[in-house]
């Protein structure tokens, strides 16, 4: 009897202690992504840092650990450290490449952490609890829809594509599917590698080759900068000519706000998607509603009316 009550007391204290300890313990969320080497990724990094500040202020018991890695092997090591050193409760990961990071993420999952995968899917299905990504086909479709609203049958457009990858194919195929049957002629499409210099040179050659171009789909804001420079050099930036980029670069959005007729709209591929993923992951610990699932962000058409809400002057992108 006496023995039992002592045991109950001991048990009770143990429960109280562990309760106190868990209140002290923070929810640790590791955020792993490639080191930014181009402007869009630099924007993503900036938005993620903003989200870290905001979320840690809002929830003092949440600790977000941001780590960027220069290559897939370094990212795999970073994931191992997050488990062994930081003992994370959840992981938000934008994989460098799908194949080499699938196993490292599975190892993190086996440690019991919640897994959120961003933008680039893993090679095996069913690993992630939450998936957050932009919508590449929708970016192509929305751009084509805008072209159709501005152009009539028999008008000519040229397309500057990105780096030959799945992302580029998804955007391009969806654009072509939407434009089909509209009577708008796609004169040609060439890869400009999401790069300003290549955008400039490819557009120069398009201008020499085709005397009549009514609009340009540049797919990306960096390419669009090169395209606009080439149009201005050739003096063919008037007569209702317009260029549609994509991604949501701050300079482009500022131009839309100021009423730039050459680039009147932009199609969003949100650089803030990592921040969104961090929000959803924190909500998995804090919300009373279920959050697991797939979040496909919209490819919003940014025009003069809504440009302001996508304008972040302090972001590098």
């Amino acid at each position: 009897m006496f023995k039992k009550s002592i045991m109950a007391l001991a048990l009770g204290t143990a429960v109280v202690f562990s309760g106190a300890a868990s209140a002290e313990e923070k929810i640790k969320i590791g955020v792993s992504y490639p080191t930014p080497t181009h402007a869009w990724a630099a924007g993503m990094n900036w938005h993620a840092e903003q989200a870290e500040k905001r979320l840690e202020e809002l929830y003092p018991d949440v600790d977000l650990i941001l780590v960027n890695s220069p290559d897939p092997a370094a990212q795999a090591s970073a994931l191992e450290d997050m488990v062994s050193v930081n003992q994370i409760d959840a992981l938000v990961v934008l994989p460098f490449e799908s194949d080499p990071l699938t196993d490292p993420v599975i190892n993190v999952k086996e440690s019991g952490a919640l897994i959120t995968v961003v933008d680039r899917g893993l090679s095996k299905e069913g690993i992630e609890d939450i998936y957050v990504a932009g919508n590449n086909p929708e970016l192509g479709r929305v751009s084509a829809e805008y072209m159709k609203s501005r152009l009539k049958e028999g008008d000519n457009i040229v397309i500057l594509r990105g780096i030959p990858t799945t992302i580029d194919n998804e955007r391009f195929d969806a654009f072509m599917a939407e434009i089909e049957g509209s009577g708008i002629n796609v004169l040609d499409h060439k890869h400009a590698n999401w790069n300003r210099d290549d955008g400039f040179e490819v557009m120069q050659d398009f201008l020499s080759r085709f005397p009549d171009i009514d609009a340009v789909w540049a797919q990306d804001d960096d390419i669009a900068i090169g395209v606009v420079a080439a149009l201005k050099q050739a003096g063919r930036d008037g007569d209702g000519m317009f260029v549609v980029g994509g991604a949501g670069m701050k300079e482009t959005i500022k131009g839309i706000m100021d009423g730039n007729e050459l680039q009147p709209i932009d199609v969003l591929y949100p650089p803030a998607m990592l921040a969104t993923a961090m929000d959803v992951t924190v909500a998995a610990f804090k919300s009373n509603g279920p959050v697991a699932g797939r979040y496909i962000l919209g490819a919003t058409l940014i025009d003069k009316d809504n440009a302001e809400q996508f304008y972040f002057p302090d972001s590098p992108f």
Partner: protein
Amino acid sequence: MSDTEVISAERKRAFSIDLKAMGPALALLILCIIGYSLNSAFLSEGNITNLLTRSAFIGIIAVGATFVITAGGIDLSVGSMAAVISGVMIIIMNNLVDTFGAGAVTVLIGCGCSLILGIGAGWINGALTTKGKIEAFIVTLGTMGIYRSLVTYFADGGTLSLNFDLRGTYRPVYYDSFLGLPIPVWVFIGVSIAGWVILNRTAFGRYCTAIGSNESVAKYSAVNVDRIKTATYVIQGFCVALATIIYVPRLGSASASTGVLWELEAIAAVIIGGTVLKGGYGRIGGTILGALILTTIGNILNFTDVISNYLNGTMQGLIIIIAVWLQRADWSKKKV
């Protein structure tokens, strides 16, 4: 051996020498005919001007690379060097706007800094190779990585953009013409002539060739090998800086993707032009044709949709190999 055999052998030799010198010019001519047959707009004034202006960047860098390679060296850092110089130049000019205004003074100071940086970066490559006794391949592979990451760091992973008022001042350097030719083309012509004179008509040029063919012999012949070799890298750095000065006003920006693979294009231009990769023989005229050939390939591929976009690299690779094979293959020694 009968007389006729000797004569025919001599003829063959003459033909092969001729082909060696004429190879790049012939390749360029064939490319132009292909381009024109695909689309007559290829030979339009606008396109030719675009082609020449575009060739200026790689061409100017390749003239510098001809010296380095002739003297038996190699410089892999030129693309990254161009990127970091562009970046630093933009930062310097943006910061000077408050003091000196958005006029020519600021641009001139920017250009001066660019030249100093180029010469300095070239000297570092040269000194590490000669005084440090490290292989040029390793030294410049190292500086290539350093310069590339520095520009990423300065740009915070994004893009460095030139102040908009300055662009107005600086823009004519790329876009304006003098006597019908764009200014970058004049710079290219000037660099080419200077390069040809230095390589073919000065003691320095002969020392470069001597060191490239046999460094030890050059040393015993009282040539200051270290100084000459370092000087070739300094010339390379100076050329990169000049290319940067005409590159920045084009789009007014620099980022981590600026100048990617320029080093390989420059080296390819030099080799297509007939300079020997292991050193000892250099041809500035060939280098210029090499740069023009490389730009023309890209231009022609943009002028046709016959070839799948995904095969652009294949076409470029094939043409480079064929152009070099045309001048290297020993035509006089066909099966006996």
